[in-house]
């Protein structure tokens, strides 16, 4: 009720043309009261979200950091080891290897979908409204909506000794390179990468395509008049205009690569011989299986920092976008 009356006074005062000192003072007080009340209301509205966030995100982050300084089996009392767990990250080839693998996965999860997505989008941009390209949008999106676990199960089967991939290779006369892709030291990690690329390609392609349709067509016309070929057109107009979209694709896919868990858990469990061990999986093994909670937490801290270190610079692509 009082709020309404205040507002009305507020509105009324607008019509006062002469600087009536008393009215002015009254209005200022009313405004301040309103802003204060608004402040309190706003804070109250933030509280539920903040409460969940603090309890289930901020507190666990702090605890992860805390655990990382202890040697703890999760059951008995923990003992302080300072930076010991972090030293292990640097010394133990298994732990360090998992981080290296995560970076190798970026190649497959990020660069392939972005590069292939750019190429495809550039080609189909020209008939973006035709029926086939509308259908393709739905189809290429499928991998995005299914659980990664399902992608892992499907591809494990496709990539097995008797799977479809080898069947196709044999059919086209490449029988000599057939193998159990996920069970071979040299191909297991790339094979996992291919699964990720399959999942992420559609999203990237459509994002880039959406970006391309926003480019002013007159730019292309101008380029054509200047006699630019398709290549120059692509590099001097399309790519620069897509900075923001490329930045988004890279951000999403890089996080997916560094924090991969589901696909590896299902398809290789980190094998053969740790060839596909990634930080996410190693954290899970260490914490819940080998019960080295401290080491697991140190790796978790490293993972969080790595993601930030890689993703933050990418945001510059978004900031200084086209305009």
């Amino acid at each position: 009720m009082s709020q309404q009356r205040l507002d009305r006074t507020d509105a009324d005062s607008r019509e006062v043309t002469a600087p009536d000192a008393e009215a002015f003072e009254r209005r200022r007080r009313a405004l301040r009261a309103r802003r204060l009340r608004r402040g309190w209301v706003a804070w109250a509205l933030v509280v539920p979200a903040a409460a969940f966030y603090v309890v289930f995100v901020l507190k666990p982050i702090v605890l992860t950091v805390q655990y990382s300084f202890y040697d703890w089996d999760g059951v008995t009392a923990a003992s302080w080891v300072g930076l010991g767990n972090y030293a292990k990250l640097l010394q133990d080839p298994e732990l360090g290897g998992s981080i290296v693998h995560a970076f190798e996965l970026i190649l497959y999860f990020s660069f392939i979908p972005v590069a292939l997505g750019l190429a495809t989008a550039a080609i189909i941009r020209k008939f973006a409204t035709s029926r086939i390209s509308v259908v393709s949008r739905t189809v290429l999106f499928l991998p995005q909506i299914i659980p990664l676990v399902a992608a892992g199960i499907m591809w494990t089967w496709l990539l097995s000794t008797d799977g479809l991939v080898n069947q196709v290779l044999r059919a086209v006369g490449l029988g000599s390179i057939t193998r159990a892709w996920l069970g071979d030291f040299h191909t297991a990690l790339p094979a996992v990468g291919v699964i990720g690329a399959w999942v992420l390609f559609g999203l990237c392609m459509l994002l880039l395509l959406a970006g391309m349709t926003k480019i002013d067509p007159s730019l292309y016309e101008a380029a054509r008049i200047d006699g630019a070929g398709a290549w120059r057109e692509f590099f001097s107009i399309t790519l620069p205009s897509l900075r923001q979209e490329v930045g988004v694709c890279l951000t999403v896919t890089v996080i997916a690569a560094l924090a991969s868990f589901d696909i590896v858990y299902i398809s290789t469990q980190g094998g053969p011989g740790n060839a596909t061990l990634v930080p996410g999986l190693e954290i899970y093994y260490l914490a819940f299986f080998q019960r080295q909670v401290g080491t697991a937490s140190a790796l978790a801290v490293a993972l969080m920092l790595l993601v930030l270190a890689v993703v933050l610079p990418l945001q510059r692509l978004n900031r200084t976008g086209d305009s």
């Binding site: 702090v62 008995t76 159990a180 071979d184 094998g271 053969p272 080998q290 909670v293």
Partner: protein, 436 residues
Amino acid sequence: MTATACSAPGGDNNNAANTQGSTSTSTAGGQPTCGTAPVKLKMYIETGFPLPKDLSDEFTKQYPNVTFDVREDQFAVITQNAPRVLVDDPPDLMRLPQVSELAKDNLLLNLDPYATAFGWDKWPQSQLEQMRVNADGSRGDGPLYAMGLNFSMTGVFYNKKLAQQIGMTAAPTTLAELDQDLQKAKDAGIVGIAQFNGGATGGLAFPLQNLMAAYGDPAPINDWIFQKKGASIDTPTNLQAAEHLDKWIKAGYFAKDINSFDYATMMSRFIGGKSLFIFDGDWESGNLDKQMAGNAGFFIMPPAQAGGKQAAMSAPLTYGISAKAANPDCAAFFLNWVATNDKARTIAVQVGGSHPMGPADAFMPPVEANTVTAQTLDAGAKIGKDNGAMDFIANATGAIYAKSWTPNLQKMVAGQQTPQGLLTAVQKDYESEIGG
């Protein structure tokens, strides 16, 4: 937020440790039973083996007040879950990988009171020693922390048709003969051994340990598995065994893609006639008698020298009771029933394929001659005579299989690990695990 952040994790933790010992039976003195009130036993078993389910069904038939709430997973999953599940979602009966760490952390119920009440302590003690853990965590003696549903025997299964094709008329009696058979198979274009070795389950541990037993004495291997002080896997005879395995790999006796497939694929290939041999255990005997009736044979790994002693991995199908289980008495009663009831023993043999637990003179169901089941039971007697029973090297510590044997054996298959490197690496992981 700050309250927990300041104290060391685990310091104020009062779980499993306190419950230890307090769960002693209410019927101390007499034998515990399942009573007459409805009981729901929570059971966590391994997928792919019908034995525990058949046993529980039969048990419910005999004791209708007892029903089972069964959860199933593959063995690798159980291994990963064991410590967590025992504390946080305690089952009454659970298939266990390896008990020393679980017992040391007081996650498992001490079964000694039951052993006394039911008279398990009067059985041949070799059946139980793998499940005894003493205070420092080494196995072989100390309180009993688990029971078997039966105890298994391992060795080599072969496909009789394929054996005939390569002119193998009898089971090899020396390692050299086995080598020759493998070579003949290779020459005939037949896969020698399609042993599973993919994912987190390095199945080459089977032939490796068999080779260890062919070259050396099983006792030191058992010491290592039981975590006796100073034990090492890196011994001269074990090195010979690893080198022999490496020779098999390099000679192409194994299927090319062993690093990619799991246990179930191995079974499917063997049953489908795509592998001459597999290294496996008698838990498959019943299954093989059904699916390859008359076409499967079994032998224990032959010794390096003719007439030498033979050894085999033999372990109870281990089931434990969580220290926090809701119905420990009934669970123990069930375990005793499995070992002593005639019907249960029949199921243990016919479905499980392995020898039942229990007193030496207990009832044995008749077994048809010429079946794999008969062969594996005979083999058990021979191993008993040679005192050649070993636990699995995969069971030395909770994580040694998935995190050490498996990756290193997979590397060896890919030519990225040497026999000496394998033993050194595993010994190092072993020491860091039991030391820390």
